[in-house]
Assembly symmetry: C2
Homo-oligomer: 397 residues x 2
């Protein structure tokens, strides 16, 4: 007996390895079975670790015939699950699968009372799903799921050859699911580590921030606003910065004033005007920041943001007096957020400005202090009502 | 024609998905082929991304017969590689594989000059490897590698059925290798992120450290010594802390004095004795550290190290006056490293002690200030010559 669909399904089941989303993977395999094997419907009961139950995850077939997904949720004491869990009942365990017709015949034979009881339960479950064959899928002896097939459209029975094939297929699927789960776990670990990195940086940066009495919450606000400016630039230019750029900007925002840790508290918190020496000391903070972060090679791009966030568009800034587009974009963005935040914050020598006045001031220094595209982005964010007053705004992760 | 080994190799190739080290995977498949197919030897030429060449990665078979691994390194202009790269020469491209005997027959036939030239080169390469059949392995049209088989021990030729099977197997292997590579990439990314996290924490902690003029390099030394004490405890008790504990200890070491950022510089750097109020201010630093790190849920265990690193074994420490084994081990370890490092460092009110005197002092306070097992660990590290004087010792990552 030849099975035409065998090769196609086999090669599909192989390419499954590279699908690292278990749901997509199962969806695909069930859809293919319905199409190629030409059954009325097919579904998979899949073990859910969190719910500790078997859930009808995917269900494919003609409307009205297929069992709706999510319809069933089975504990381990459900006869179908119990049956495949045990696997010990050799009398009724054929090929490792259950065929409805065969099982029905068995019921009339002289089998043990308990076996009969369990088998009746299994048959009842199969009737609910209108399923003629159930194929279990194991991984290292744990029951991962059960494939449930409806009748063939041709009206014919499943042959021994086909059943063998489904058993092999089920084991492939189990392997692919396990592989996908391992991928997901690794990705989650990566996510977790990223959050740990960002949150620790946020906490330490905020602690350093707190040393400077006049800039409470400054770091968090500048970081948020920098990311909003980047968003606005993307929207205006219809281009997309890559994730790496946005991540570097995020980190640079958090660390831009890190060098202030090297400036004496007496100068940072001084009431009244600074002497030229004191001003010089404060203006060292971008390069002090660079010194602190220099050893971290992965931060190279972010460090450019720290180093140049006090450069001005007309070249009158520090530490290097860079001009125009010689200033790295990452630094120009932070500069915009930094200047705006300074304007809306009380300082020892002046009260804070309102948002309206601040934006007017921003537009006035466009092309001198600030790059025009950054000034414009700030103005547009203001018009859209997206700019904060001086209130604490936590960073969204 | 039946192939007995088919089922075994098939199921092996399936379980390969879960082997996420490409070298182990290939080693395994080549060994199995030699055993099951009963050939004299088998080898795989595998593409090396860095070297941009195909390398003879594994070679199995009887000594004296097998080609040594690493022996061959082929560029894309090698005829064997060129042949499978092109795949366009339909005249000589059979089944997608090259059989030595068939290819030799072809040479005598009326095929194009260029084809003949290429084929001669291919045959020459096969002779070097003493190979009778070459099976290429592709992933998305890119030539990933070539499986080279020697003669069968039975002296028989390979049948069409077997060749078909090898082609399918080669595609399985390609898929498994690709899957393994994706895993490795993800793991490397995770490693990179971990290093970024640790290095940034080191840099920021060192910057905060630098505020306290008397404790230059203190954080780095305490972290290193804490990890050495943990190592010593494991060795003494013949038990292994899990990686999570060691990672938490590493982070807690780096962050143990983070709360000092909240203590005024004037107090931290004061020459001469502190007033009770000033002392109280300094003793707030463990709880200030907790306040800074509290929002980071992943740091829960490390925070215990930060919070309790000034507790003493007899209950006379701060902030809570915990006693004996009520003090978390992570904090007791840092306390030991912290006290030792303070002893070997100059302070405004005393010169530093020598290592010898410091260890005598450590043993004197064992059971009062310090947990006996920590004091003993320090003494043993000293006896083994593993304790540093007050010199900067960078943290090994």
């Amino acid at each position: 007996m030849s099975i035409d669909y065998k090769r196609e399904l086999e090669s599909a089941s192989k390419s499954m390895i590279l699908i690292h989303d278990p749901n997509v993977l199962i969806e695909m395999i069930v859809r293919m079975i319905v199409q190629k094997v030409k059954v009325y419907h097919a579904a998979i009961l899949l073990y859910d670790k969190d719910k500790k139950s078997y859930i009808l995850t995917v269900s494919r077939g003609e409307t009205g015939i297929k069992v709706p997904a999510g319809y069933a949720c089975m504990d381990s004491d459900n006869p179908l699950i119990e049956f495949f869990h045990q696997r010990k009942d050799k009398e009724i365990f054929n090929y490792g699968v259950v065929l409805y017709e065969e099982a029905k015949k068995l019921l009339r034979k002289n089998i043990g009372r308990e076996s009969k009881q369990l088998l009746k339960g299994v048959l009842y479950q199969m009737e609910i799903f209108d399923s003629v064959i159930c194929i279990p899928s194991y991984f290292h002896d744990a029951l991962l799921g059960i494939l449930l097939l409806g009748k063939k459209k041709s009206g014919r029975d499943f042959g021994a050859d086909e059943i063998d094939f489904f058993v092999a297929l089920a084991s492939d699927v189990a392997m692919a699911i396990r592989n996908a789960q391992l991928f997901i776990e690794l990705r989650e670990e990566l996510d977790k580590k990223h959050r740990l990195f960002i949150h620790t940086t946020v906490a330490l940066a905020a602690a350093i921030d707190a040393k400077d009495h006049y800039t409470h919450g400054h770091t968090a606000r500048v970081t948020t606003l920098s990311l909003e400016i980047a968003e606005k630039i993307m929207q205006k230019n219809k281009k997309k910065f890559d994730n790496k750029f946005l991540e570097n900007l995020h980190i640079a925002g958090l660390l831009h004033d890190i060098g202030k840790i090297g400036v004496p508290e007496a100068i940072l918190n001084k009431q009244g005007p600074l002497t030229p020496e004191e001003r010089k000391k404060i203006e060292e903070h971008p390069l002090l920041g660079v010194t602190i972060l220099q050893p971290i090679r992965q931060l190279e791009e972010s460090i450019a943001g720290v180093k140049y966030h006090h450069e001005k568009f007309d070249g009158s800034g520090y530490p290097e007096g860079l001009k125009g587009n010689k200033i790295p974009l990452i630094a120009a963005i932070i500069a915009g957020a930094d200047i705006y935040d300074a304007m809306i914050t009380d300082r020892p020598y002046r009260k804070r400005l309102t948002k309206e006045t601040a934006i007017k001031e921003i537009m006035r220094v466009s092309g001198t202090q600030l790059a025009p595209q950054i000034a414009k982005s700030l103005a547009e964010l203001y018009e859209e009502g997206k700019l904060q007053e001086n209130i604490l705004c936590p960073i969204n992760e």
